[in-house]
Symmetry: C2
């Protein structure tokens, strides 16, 4: 850090890098140099951040490669008018490491972190890795996706919850992540509030969705449900969640699945992660009709997405319950082994827990779907449908389904029912 000049505008040694200054920076960071195999000649550097918040550089040298990510103290896609703490990089790094320790197969390795500069250097997931969302738009099947994502969610959520941890350790960890308050505030705003009121940030496929958007703002029962979900998000420290687990935070190949970008992570309701994933799968499903053409009607692919939705929950359910059974002797705070001391009692407790979690997940899935259609940040699944009428039709069906799901989520008993409901939309 000593060799990095600090910018007057940003105290504490922070300076926004660019492709040139990055090389100088790397020279001062032995762990990055080491990840590059010690050879800094002929580095190729490319900025690829397609997200809304950060800069992401791919650095490839003759003997190694690395991704260098820098958080700026404002929202990239808005500019300095919308400040956002660069401390999000600190929480992203913490969660990459914690989730990585719990599920190393599905989380990329962190090589280096610089808090003042808000820089994380981590494993470069080189092609053929693509962002899952792009794969879903292209109609590519990932046969191991449900398996991998259910494994990631089961392990990261179970081991950071009171099913495994003591209340003391849990409270200490919860307190630490409460520092990620600005990221949570962004979610509270753009997921749980703005879509349900007039807001200059909102946008939608106008004029096609004008009445849909208005009906959301006038839907009493929807607003009551979303308020419950928002309170859950704000109040319930159930596990260390990723906080932004949509299909743009997942890198895939046919054989591998890697979860990235946990900068919104904090101790929140587990269903927010599961719901983000399921909700984005459902968006991908409803977008398929917009991607269908003469060469591919996408019917087979739609069925694959539905199977993936069903498998993701069912495999998650089974893996999570298995972890619970395997770790029963550890006796986390919530269900002490000497209180939950019969198989019958444990099965009843697990059934209730998983049912509640399923309902939470469906509620959050619906909230995440709605906000992607009428809120500030949209998804490429729909945005890439160039025929606006076609896009609006896909969005309308998604909205219709999401509204129904949020209001009736507690009636769903299985992922099979969820898939049936999607098919009936």
């Amino acid at each position: 850090m000593g060799s990095i000049p600090s910018d007057d505008k940003y105290p504490l040694g922070f300076k926004a890098l660019d492709e040139n200054s990055l090389v100088e920076y790397i020279k001062s960071a032995p762990q990055i140099v080491s990840a590059l195999g010690g050879d800094l000649n002929e580095l190729s550097i490319k900025e690829v951040g397609d997200g809304n918040l950060n800069f992401v550089y791919i650095v490839v040298g003759p003997s190694g490669s690395v991704v260098v990510k820098q958080a700026l103290p404002y929202i990239r896609c808005v500019g300095e008018s919308w400040p956002l703490s660069k401390e999000r990089a600190f929480f992203e790094m913490l969660t990459l490491k914690r989730h990585g320790a719990l599920c190393p197969t599905h989380v990329p390795e962190v090589y280096y972190f610089d808090r003042a500069m808000a820089i994380i250097a981590m494993r470069y997931l080189k092609p053929p890795y693509v962002i899952l969302r792009k794969g879903l738009i292209a109609g590519i099947e990932y046969p191991l996706l449900a398996q991998h994502m259910s494994e990631y969610m089961a392990r990261t959520l179970f081991f950071t919850s009171l099913l495994y941890c003591s209340a003391k350790d849990h409270r200490n960890s919860v307190a630490k992540f409460l520092g990620n308050v600005e990221q949570c505030g962004l979610t509270e705003l753009v997921v749980f509030s703005d879509p349900y009121r007039l807001s200059s940030s909102n946008r939608w496929s106008s004029p096609y969705l004008d009445t849909d958007v208005q009906s959301i703002r006038e839907d009493i029962h929807l607003k009551l449900e979303v308020a419950q979900l928002k309170s859950l998000f704000c109040e319930r420290a159930q596990a260390l969640i990723h906080g932004d687990l949509h299909t743009g935070s997942i890198m895939v190949t046919e054989n591998s699945t890697q979860v990235i970008d946990p900068e919104f992570s904090f101790y929140g309701p587990m269903g927010f992660d599961i719901g983000a994933l399921l909700g984005n799968f459902i968006l991908a499903y409803f977008a398929q009709d917009g991607h269908a053409d003469e060469s591919n009607d996408r019917q087979v692919y739609k069925q694959w997405i539905l199977n993936t939705i069903e498998d993701t929950w069912n495999l998650f359910h089974d893996k999570f319950v298995s972890l619970w059974n395997e770790n029963n002797h550890i006796s986390g705070e919530a269900y002490p082994a000497d209180v939950f001391n019969t198989p019958q009692l444990n099965i009843l407790a697990q059934n209730k827990y998983m049912q509640d979690l399923f309902h939470d997940s469906l509620g959050f899935a619906a909230a995440k779907m709605i906000r992607r259609i009428v809120g500030i940040a949209h998804v490429e699944d729909f945005e890439s449908i160039h025929n606006v009428q076609k896009r609006a039709y896909c969005e309308q069906r998604s909205l219709q389904f999401a509204k129904m799901l949020m209001k009736t989520r507690n009636k769903f008993e299985s992922a099979t029912q969820l898939v049936s409901a999607i098919l009936q939309t």
Copy 2:
């Protein structure tokens, strides 16, 4: 602090005071001297701590009086073998000040705090103030009690919740109070775990309650319910709760009600406070038959307790909803005014919120009752019934009621129904 010698055993300047060293200590604390009117001659000092944890000194001089409370780094009634952070005094002070600012009529003034010594000096509530529990045992009616306690709970809970606060302020406060982790751990242990398992800490009126205690350990549905309540306690940061709001934490006269001892305070579920109070009222009710004698059959008093139970919830409900309506323009995080923008919507939201809160409160009331009969810490309401068989009878009825309440709490729709159920036990 400079003049207080530190004890080798306790670093950071801590030393356990006694009645002699307290005088020297007071001389070094101008705020205490000032509360005593500047006159330190002929101080009368009396240690009166009847609680389980701390030392409490009443200091009376010719020109003023003060209570000095010191937390020791272990549990007083157990001894040094059960360490407990003296930092609880810091959280007690914080909450006395925060709740005091929100409801000055019902919280005594703090004059002085010394974190290293874990000492709080506060207003001395002189006779005729008595501890409410003792008043209830003596059969004394407090006509303003329900009014006062509902006011205290409505104001302290509403203004520290997301109904009033922004999520940002809320998360910062939640993080601060997560430091009171040892006190929370004690509650988790003695309220939510030990009563439902074999534990050497448990005691009960043996042999009369032997089968009752065993049946609790074997009651599958009770254990499932208490686990839900425990998770709520551990995970849900709903408001800054007192954390120990039983009738021993309340000082009363006919005209005044003062809430003391919030050393278990943290951001937890509101129902834990409301339930603690209601549960202890119900214990006081079931204890009355043990206090009845030829001169007073306690029938009139029992009816007064029932009225107080009903009034406490109903007045709390009305005051809480009034605060919600009055502060609607403030727009706390949970129900933003521009989302909850019609009277009908607000009424629906309030009805749901209050119904859920009532059910939480009944669950916690039941948990607090059960633990006082079969756990480590009992209540004077029963302990003062010297005829053991009579006491066991009162305890058995309480247990029977509490078990029913915990399992069926979600079916209760009003405080009237609660009182009917008590009468039917």
